[in-house]
């Protein structure tokens, strides 16, 4: 296995690509690319990719971190569910630490006695439901297109097994609608506050949905998109491909990740998702606000497995902490270090905003891996 990992992390190859990027980007202009996905944000920070890019190539962190974009109201819903006596809430680990408006979190609810289990997959939640037939078990489902098929399978499995104590609190969201929303936002379109020259698209999402869904905004907004894998060499190669396109005046969808992505994606997974889920008319995202047709809900034929139906959940729209810039950071308007409370009030130990919680969040990635750059810069200014 490591053979395949090391191949995509080879330092000498990285330096070759870096040299090509430097020479191709030497056009006197600046390049601003958004890596949509938190996985890319994490890779860029963890491998120090910024150090290999010339000063005129800028990476903007996008909103592709499912933990980060879930609004506070939905987190409060999950806490309310967990506090129902006898109920077991199954959640991915990162969600546990997201703070709500009143400083509550799933982790605190757990400490107060709520039965919250950290799981690694929807299959774990099914197993817990089987082992606890007398108790209600809710799977707190979050994620983009990559985690949606496993949730669909879990729902179908629950049906096949006749599990009447298993439901899913569905918070699955969609990548292309979020990207269009950013491109249509006044900050990008009218005010030019966010210079955006191109996107790096997440390969794992495209393994499922294919590369076609991106054709629309490459065409409509004249922005090139390169779908890339998550190894650092993938990211470097994608940056080079974007610079190529821009220098050539192109705006098309290119696929760096040919080792697994096809234009049409995984039809089987798509039909599975279509069988179980349907589009929500609109869904609230942290940072982006209400985004039309940007999330999925469980179809009425599977209503027995829908926690929103069974527990009559209604979600309040709750504003973020005023000092927290997660919203602007998720839209690419601000950088983590532009936030007043970054690294002072808001740290990975005491996160105020969601971007500081998940390792894929822009703030957590910058705090954990890159904050020495700020202190280097400040020291340089002081001298």
């Amino acid at each position: 296995m490591m053979k395949y990992i090391d191949e995509f992390r080879a330092g000498d190859l990285a330096r070759q690509i870096a040299a090509k990027i430097a020479s191709e980007a030497a056009t006197g202009r600046d390049y601003h690319f958004m890596e949509f996905c938190g996985g890319h944000t994490h890779a860029i920070s963890r491998f120090g990719i910024i150090d290999l890019l010339p000063g005129n190539v800028h990476m903007i962190h996008g909103p592709g971190c499912p933990v980060c974009v879930l609004p506070i109201g939905r987190v409060e819903n999950a806490i309310q569910l967990a506090q129902i006596p006898g109920l077991i809430l199954c959640s991915y680990g990162d969600m546990l630490r997201i703070p709500t408006a009143n400083g509550m979190s799933l982790l605190k609810a757990k400490a107060q006695g709520a039965d919250i289990r950290m799981v690694y997959s929807s299959a774990d939640a099914i197993k817990i439901a089987q082992e606890n037939p007398q108790r209600q078990v809710v799977f707190f489902a979050i994620g983009f297109e990559t985690t949606t098929p496993p949730t669909a399978i879990a729902i179908q499995q629950a049906q096949a097994l006749g599990l009447n104590n298993f439901t899913v609190f569905c918070n699955h969201v969609l990548t292309p609608s979020a990207i269009s929303h950013i491109l249509q936002s006044p900050e990008v379109r009218e005010f030019g506050l966010v210079p955006l020259d191109g996107f790096i698209g997440p390969a794992h999402v495209s393994v499922v949905i294919g590369s076609q869904p991106y054709e629309y905004f490459a065409e409509e907004f004249q922005k090139p998109v390169v779908i890339a894998g998550f190894e650092p060499l993938d990211v470097m190669q994608a940056i080079l491909m974007l610079i190529h396109q821009i220098n050539a005046g192109c705006a098309k969808v290119e696929n760096e990740f040919t080792r697994a992505v096809s234009p049409e994606g995984n039809r089987k997974a798509q039909s599975l998702v279509a069988e179980v889920f349907e589009l929500r008319r609109t869904f609230e995202w942290r940072g982006l606000g209400w985004v039309p047709y940007s999330a999925l809900k469980i179809k009425s034929c599977y209503a027995n497995f829908d926690a929103e139906q069974r527990f009559r959940i209604s979600t309040a729209s709750i504003a973020d902490n005023k000092a927290c810039e997660c919203g602007a950071i998720l839209r690419g308007v601000k950088r983590p270090q532009d936030c007043k409370i970054f690294g002072t009030v808001c740290t990975p130990e005491n996160p105020v905003g969601s971007c500081m919680v998940s390792s894929e969040g822009a703030c957590a990635a910058h705090y954990s891996y890159g904050r020495f750059r700020e202190s280097n810069r400040i020291t340089a200014q002081e001298n």
Partner: protein
């Protein structure tokens, strides 16, 4: 009738095969006395324990002494390469040894859960005895408590040790100086991954064994070669990253390590990739970090290579000037990044 052949009274022997811990084993009565005599004293046997006092009495030594204590709550109790018993012995010996001291005596305290099988307890106690014997550090006093079923998790063991620092040795976490070299004694992350591989919800197959080992003998060999070692630390919970951050903080210096130089077994790296963990944060139980002046580094490395527990030792980085006390890493990929304090818990109950 000769004194040696006194019938041991009308006492029924402990059923070490099928028996379980009962509340009476902690009540101070006959059952407790029997457990201590038949299990602990028999296994740990030494002149201090044989006195049967509530304390061990031994002559004092001249010079500086060190003392350390460590509780062990690892789950599962038995794992490839060791168990909670050997871990409890090695853990405290290593904490003592990281001052450069020669460990002299250990104390062991057991919290047992009602219903815990005596056969498992015997396995653990025998393993402790074997580890203490091999390390030549006797367990000279101890304690046993029993808690109701549900109030513990089988067995928790606390060990305390004292040791003696040789003349002229001054090893401390605040001694790292810019320019110093940083060495590790072997591959990183083996213990944590061995434990993780056994945990129910992280089931994947590896043949990784815990590196649990007593390091005082390696330390003695290192000190003999380089008495001027500045810092020693065993990177247990939180792994290399945490230990280096502690040292940077204590010494008010920065640290730069080189990813290329880090000894990590391929299986450990692969397991970490698979479950999204960073091997720099994974626990070790038989490895140490050494920091010494640059001119001593090669000699020290050589001495480590000559010892079985230091065969895979490497120079992995250096201490630098940095007011922020950051630990940074030059990545294999060519960039730089912070190797930060661990945030939250990576995996609970690893030791």
């Amino acid at each position: 009738m000769s004194a040696g052949k006194v019938k041991p009274g009308y006492i029924r022997a402990l059923d070490l095969k099928h028996g379980c811990i009962e509340m009476s084993h902690g009540s101070g009565g006959r059952a407790m006395a029997q457990l201590i005599q038949q299990l602990f004293i028999t296994a740990f046997d030494n002149e201090f324990l044989r006195q049967m006092n509530d304390q061990a009495c031994f002559p004092s030594v001249n010079g500086r002494m060190v003392m350390s204590t460590d509780s062990h709550v690892v789950t599962p109790l038995f794992f490839p390469g060791g168990d909670i018993g050997s871990l409890a012995v090695h853990g405290t010996i290593n904490d003592i040894a990281m001052s450069g001291a020669k460990p002299c005596y250990l104390a062991a305290s057991f919290i047992l859960e009602e219903g815990f099988p005596l056969s498992d307890l015997k396995r653990i106690v025998d393993s402790m005895a074997k580890a203490a014997q091999a390390a030549q550090v006797p367990i000279v006093t101890g304690d046993t408590k029993v808690v109701e079923k549900g109030s513990g998790d089988g067995v928790f063991i606390t060990t305390t040790g004292i040791g003696m620092v040789p003349e002229g040795i001054h090893i401390s976490g605040d001694n790292a100086r810019p320019g110093d070299k940083i060495l590790v004694s072997g591959t990183l992350g083996d213990h944590g991954i061995a434990i993780m591989a056994l945990r129910e919800n992280l089931s994947f197959q590896t043949s990784i064994e815990s590196d649990s080992a007593a390091l005082h003998d390696l330390v003695a060999a290192m000190i003999a070669a380089t008495p001027g070692i500045h810092v020693l630390r065993d990177p247990t919970r939180g792994g290399l990253a945490t230990a280096l951050n502690e040292i940077a903080q204590q010494s008010s210096a920065g640290i730069m390590i080189y990813e290329n130089e880090l000894p990590i077994q391929e299986q450990v790296q692969a397991a970490c990739e698979f479950i999204g963990l960073d091997p720099l944060y994974i626990a070790n139980e038989g490895k140490l970090i050494a920091i010494c002046a640059a001119q001593d580094a090669e000699k020290l490395l050589h001495a480590m290579h000559a010892h079985p527990l230091g065969r895979h030792a490497r120079i992995i980085g250096e201490v630098i000037e940095d007011a922020h006390c950051f630990v940074q890493m030059q990545t294999r990929f060519g960039g730089k990044r912070i190797v930060d304090w661990l945030s939250g818990e990576q995996l609970p109950r690893i030791c």
